[in-house]
Symmetry: D2
Subunit: 243 residues, 4 copies
């Protein structure tokens, strides 16, 4: 049997402790619901990490034993930690930024764009359309799924054209959004998934969690590689070459 | 008549002053040859900048009046300047990294990957094949062109899949390389062009300079935009919404 | 002054003659409104063609003098004509399939997929979001535009991933759609644009027509090329090669 | 245990019977070597088919029980069979065109371009560089592999930009070629792989066959789907809608 995919679910974990509305929905943090769901799946071993922990939750021994990193958070992370996470993504670690992580340092560093968007917190209906029914991440999802009460994110979403666009959201208030986007960078795979807000019970939704579990399997490393710029001898005869 | 495209040709400009071999080929720097060629074209106004100048050659008044930035250099630039250049690319400025700039901070920051490659300095023959004869950057180039004496860059080149791949190089010593690559990021366009090495007279070659001039026109800003994350009121009636 | 872009606006032109509701909106056909708008633009010379004409409106002398072909129609065209149009697209002619042309033989032939979608004719509101404000086709359009009364097209739209996705539609009834899609194939450029239905006055809308005019300029041929499989002598010495 | 992937290796199988040089290298046809190699792999069940058989080797009961179709051949196949194969690819069947199949009807139909290229039959050395060491198709291949005696195919190769470019070939005579290209179309996956020529023992090479076996696994259907254009009722209340 193959080794399980080692997932770390990183969460800012601020609002769940400081805001009573959020605490009521996620008493142990959003990451707890996600990690529990993943641990109930075959072949996945998930643990939790958060900002207030030593090394902001990602000391080397944790990061270096993570195959797929799920990320929920805004902007508070140290630059040197962002650089470490970035490096590990390029070496092969999967990265799944969720919702507010569109504006996280790590997501913007990996993509190189601003990742800005429109937003509105009005508890409106969102319907996510499945554009790629044969993609591994959309298996078992159906042609669309709905969230009755969601924060709105609207286009233009400032990202590089995704390698594959899996979901487009329809919002009750009139906007649309590219809600599920795949990229490959070096050896790593990135899947941005829009749903999730601290004041709505989004991560209680099984379809949302199923997409995340599918994405974990898709983003699991296929190969670990390091990058270098080696001087390289010729493979054909080069007159006069002496190294 | 339209305003000319304002180009700044930035060069590290170290080897031309410290290495006699390089000085012999480029007494005023590689940027001088490129800027002179561009200034002889209709509709382009080019100036030079280099590392040893105040603000590393790019004070705000220069950067803020640059439509297309050509970049030759390795790693010496200050991080805050890199951040400024990056921001301006996303707002619309064209970026044309040349040769060694594959490893520059600005190129790696914009793309988000390591941009590593194989290399060898053996003065061998390079033949660049034109894959996209209808692209604006390849106009007037023919099906291939040759450089008799070039540094080798070899695959794998660690970059995100280019939006458009224009040139593949064949090297005498047995390697291949994606030598002309286009990307779009936010409002900006990026064209990486491989040819150019300080110890060979690459920028004396008219075909190389013609590609650069074509790329300047292609990368010229189509629109300047800033990025923000505005809160946005609904466009359809949302019961209970009060802003 | 450059020669004008020669546009042929091809229309099935059936419903406008057989259905009183359609005739009331488009007494001279939808193609007449589009051609008139284009002819009022500088640098564009448009003519009309339709299915009931000799050679189904596209005899060789018309096709061979067309730079950009706009196409509105379903499935009635002869296979040999489709093959001719396809060949000319690959040689450099721009192709702009409108609305129902998602299911035209020529669009499916060029893309190689089924191009199927969901649909509903309920006169509902459509809002088209502009994802790429710096693209030539979206100039002057703003962040979105609305059509008060439109046929619905819904995802999944069975197309190859577009090179560039310009518009996503929001529909009042709850669907989304990739409504403006760019592809490049050989020397030709293709822009699919969703708006337009015979029973609604879509082509009376100036924003719709402005997008079409922008697309004409974008799709205008940059180079005409023919395709062949030439036997090619070596460029390097090959011992024993005798042709 | 999962069902094996059902592979059909289709071969024109003309030269092996009519040309003594070819017969000496492939007495039972090129498809025999490929099928034997695949049948020695776990989880793959391969059979052979060829042009001279009834229904040109692909009667419905064969095609309808094929998960991945490997294709070696030029231009002789009936149009109605090409249409059937195309339809099945869009429904989910993998397609692996080899070498000369760049000019087959089925490959050109699926991609929509001419798929033309330069060529030369001079028994020269080819070196295939691996650009994507983490892709499933390149597992176990190393940074490059060589074929000592190959037909040359040269750029420009008239194809839509591949979703993923895996191999670039270097040829002794001075050309380069995109030799391993991935596309997705509807539910189907396509991998074009350049190596293989009837007068050279290419399919005796284990690395070539390993790439093909990897490609079979990559192209195996993830989901079978049919395409339709259903009329679809609204998901939100539409005043006045009565179906």
């Amino acid at each position: 049997m193959a080794d399980p995919i080692r997932v770390t679910v990183w969460n800012e974990f601020i609002h769940e402790r400081t805001d009573d509305r959020v605490k009521a929905i996620y008493p142990d943090g959003m990451h707890k619901l996600i990690a529990d769901y993943l641990n109930a799946q075959e072949g996945i071993a998930a643990r939790m990490a958060s900002l207030e922990q030593p090394e902001q939750g990602l000391p080397d021994e944790i990061l270096d034993s993570t195959d797929v990193l799920i990320w929920w958070g805004h902007e508070e992370v140290r630059d040197d930690l962002v650089a470490k996470v970035h490096k590990r993504v390029l070496q092969g670690m999967g990265l799944i930024p969720l919702h507010s992580a569109h504006y996280s340092k790590i997501f913007r560093r990996v993509l190189g764009t601003e990742c800005s968007l429109k937003w509105r917190e009005a508890g409106e209906k969102e319907r996510l359309w499945n554009l790629e029914p044969s993609h591994p991440i959309t298996q078992g999802i159906g042609e669309y799924f709905e969230l009755p009460c969601a924060e709105m994110y609207g286009e233009p979403f400032d990202i590089p054209t995704p390698d594959k666009l899996l979901f487009i959201s329809w919002f009750q208030g009139g906007e649309v959004f590219r809600s599920g986007c795949c990229w490959e960078r070096s050896n790593g795979r990135i899947f941005y998934f829009r749903p999730g807000h601290e004041t709505y019970p989004i991560y209680h939704d099984d379809t949302v969690k199923r997409v995340i579990a599918n994405a974990v399997r898709w983003a699991a490393p296929r190969r670990w590689g390091t990058h270098a710029c080696p001087k390289s001898p010729p493979l054909e005869e080069l007159p006069g070459y002496d190294g």
